[in-house]
């Protein structure tokens, strides 16, 4: 580029910086708007992410895990008739479950049942579990608030949710009777002592499931060695395609292998649309913000019309004038973004352990939410918010900058303030 066609960045930066503070009150108001806008964007995203993460986490922890293996037909008819062979019968599956790809796994028997106390009867899902393997896989290992967790697959005690206990009008250590169907379609019945009470979110889980040792349930139902499902956890609930393929290959040929998102399409769809929704959300907030930004820059350009004419007369090219106004806008955007990020960090830090929303949690329970909302601050969301403001901010600044660069020198110099 020939001499004179390019003003050094240092000069452009100096001019832009000093011009920015000519009307410091207006600049500060605009900077505050950008900072609060970015803070609002990130905050709302963190809350929405936290809400969805929590719903998914609750769903996964309830019993689904990341991936489940069922016998064909089980999902349509979750009865004792549709069983898969135990893990010990499949070397390939055993190998996969013991590999580093899998964080935790367990096999379960899960059948419809009826629980009867001295006073009430309720329909529930009876889950036969390996208590050691459920630790870290599902909620049950960490949710016992009264009594004890069952100690083995042969443990003959029952784990009941607190809400169900209230409905049954019974207590810890009291006896209840369970009824279900065995593989021969006969009624299988057995008495259990309530050994532990669990509390969990959402409360619907407390009324839906009861837990007993896997072998105890097997004996009650006069079953063979089969199980209803194998549930496993990978490393990231968002990236399960490879693990699902491996599981499908390792499981029996016609096994029904499904990820949590396939089992719960509502949650899966919510996760899929989340990123797109966040981008739309950012853009809407920015559009509101951009009016202020464009107005501020147009005012700044309007006030400096004569000065722009002067620098044109001195030989400054239109491209440099455009650059000068753009740099001014970029500086303002960057300062606003830094302030906004700091503000977000300072305000989100005190609530990193969760926000108590127990006042409204009951109404949101249908969606699988808990009474404490954990804001999920993702680096990619912070970067996206900053990128949206910066990129759209620069685009919004193009018009004032273009206006400034297209002025005819003499019209600018002789312009009378009106």
């Amino acid at each position: 580029m020939s001499a004179g066609t390019q003003l050094s960045w240092r000069v452009i930066l100096r001019l832009a910086w000093r011009n920015l503070w000519r009307n410091h009150r207006r600049s500060l108001i605009m900077l505050s708007a950008i900072a609060l806008g970015v803070c609002g964007m990130i905050w709302m995203t963190a809350l929405m992410r936290g809400m969805v993460d929590q719903m998914i986490d609750n769903s996964i922890k309830t019993l689904s895990g990341h991936i489940q293996i069922h016998a064909p037909g089980y999902l349509d008819d979750p009865s004792v008739e549709h069983l898969i062979p135990p893990i010990s019968k499949s070397l390939a599956l055993q190998g996969l479950l013991d590999s580093e790809d899998v964080v935790a796994w367990s096999q379960r028997i899960r059948v419809p049942a009826v629980i009867r106390s001295e006073r009430e009867v309720y329909a529930v899902t009876l889950v036969g579990i390996d208590p050691a393997r459920e630790q870290g896989l599902s909620f049950i290992g960490e949710s016992i608030t009264d009594g004890d967790y069952i100690s083995s697959v042969d443990d003959k005690r029952l784990l009941v949710g607190r809400k169900l206990l209230e409905r049954l009008e019974t207590k810890l250590n009291r006896r209840v009777v369970l009824m279900s169907q065995d593989p021969e379609n006969n009624i299988a019945e057995r008495g259990f002592r309530i050994g532990g009470i669990f509390d969990t979110d959402p409360q619907a889980t407390e009324t839906s499931y009861i837990f007993a040792g896997l072998e105890t349930v097997r004996k009650m139902l006069n079953m063979g060695t089969g199980v209803s499902e194998v549930s496993l956890l990978g490393h990231d609930y968002r990236k399960l395609d490879a693990l699902k393929n491996k599981t499908q290959s390792a499981a029996m040929e016609n096994a029904d292998v499904k990820t949590w998102a396939e089992q719960d399409p509502y949650m899966g769809t919510m996760l899929n649309v989340m990123d797109g929704f966040i981008l739309i959300w950012f853009t809407i907030i920015f559009l509101a913000l951009s009016f202020g930004l464009v107005n501020t820059l147009l005012m700044a350009v309007f006030e400096r019309t004569r000065e722009i004419g002067l620098v044109q007369a001195l030989g400054m090219k239109s491209s440099n004038i455009l650059l000068m106004v753009l740099v001014e806008s970029i500086i303002m955007l960057i300062i606003g973004l830094v302030a906004g990020n700091i503000l977000t960090w300072l305000t989100i830090l005190p609530v990193q352990d969760g926000i108590d929303i127990s006042g409204v949690a009951e109404g949101l329970e249908w969606a699988g939410m808990s009474s404490t909302l954990l804001p999920a601050l993702l680096v990619k969301d912070v970067l996206l918010a900053n990128a949206v403001v910066l990129v759209l901010g620069i685009l919004a600044s193009l018009f004032p900058a273009w206006r400034a660069s297209r002025k005819v020198p003499i019209e600018a110099i002789t312009r009378v303030w009106q």
Binding site: S2, G4, S8, L15
Partner: protein
């Protein structure tokens, strides 16, 4: 009219019409003028006579309605905005009556600005700026911003900026309008010295008799026409 080789500026049949609603105002009508390199010419005339318009068109800041302007052997009407900016940057220095300086830059930075556009090294820029500020009597005020300088001091900074890069042509529009007579004389003396020592061509618009006495050529305009063009004996 023939074009002489040492012409700094040549205007031929220059017209400028401003439209004010349905009214057409003829700011310049059929102006022919040649200004040779090294001249020290004053355009005089009453307010509205067209001297500032002529100056602006010679500087490529405004476009003629008809006619030709040639500066440094280049036809301005054939040049793009970018080429005009280059011409102004490398060949022409401007001094305006008012609004001369960039308010956010100090006196030295204002003087350095044109040299920065020209791509001169920082050290060279600084040295030349300090020298020229000393010449116009502003030593010690280099770091003051325009708002911290008097009208006369601001005008001297503007002159310093116009001459620091040694352009071949300096266009000054009422350069002494905001100065007292002593400062006005100092400024005109400085311009004459530069004209004599460097051969810089000056075209100055003025209606100040005190300025006209410095002129080597006096061009008088009236209602957009040249009514008198005379060389002045020293």
């Amino acid at each position: 009219m023939t074009i002489e080789k040492n012409n700094a500026v040549k205007c031929l049949g220059l017209c400028k019409v401003f439209s004010q609603g349905e009214l057409a105002v003829h700011a310049l009508s059929d102006v022919d003028i040649n200004i040779s390199a090294g001249e020290f010419a004053c355009l005089s005339g009453s307010s509205g006579s067209g001297k500032t318009t002529l100056l602006n068109m010679i500087g490529g800041l405004d476009v003629a309605t008809s006619g030709e302007i040639t500066v440094a052997d280049k036809r301005l009407d054939k040049m793009t905005m970018s080429e005009l900016a280059d011409l102004r940057l490398h060949h022409i220095g401007f001094v305006f009556q008012a609004y001369n300086l960039i308010p956010v830059l100090s006196a030295r930075e204002n003087v350095e600005f044109v040299m920065q556009l020209q791509g001169l090294e920082a050290g060279q820029r600084r040295q030349q700026a300090m020298e020229i500020l000393e010449q116009v009597g502003l030593t010690g005020m280099e770091d003051r911003r325009p708002a911290e300088l008097s009208g006369g001091q601001q005008q001297r900074v503007a002159v310093a900026r116009a001459i620091v890069s040694k352009p071949a042509l300096i266009l000054a529009d009422e350069p002494t309008a905001n100065l007292d007579s002593a400062n006005s004389d100092k400024l005109m003396t400085l311009m004459r010295e530069l004209n004599a020592s460097k051969g810089t061509t000056f075209i100055i618009s003025t209606h100040d008799e005190g300025v006209m006495k410095f002129a080597k050529r006096l061009v008088r305009l009236h209602d957009g026409r040249i009514v008198k063009d005379e060389m002045i004996e020293d």
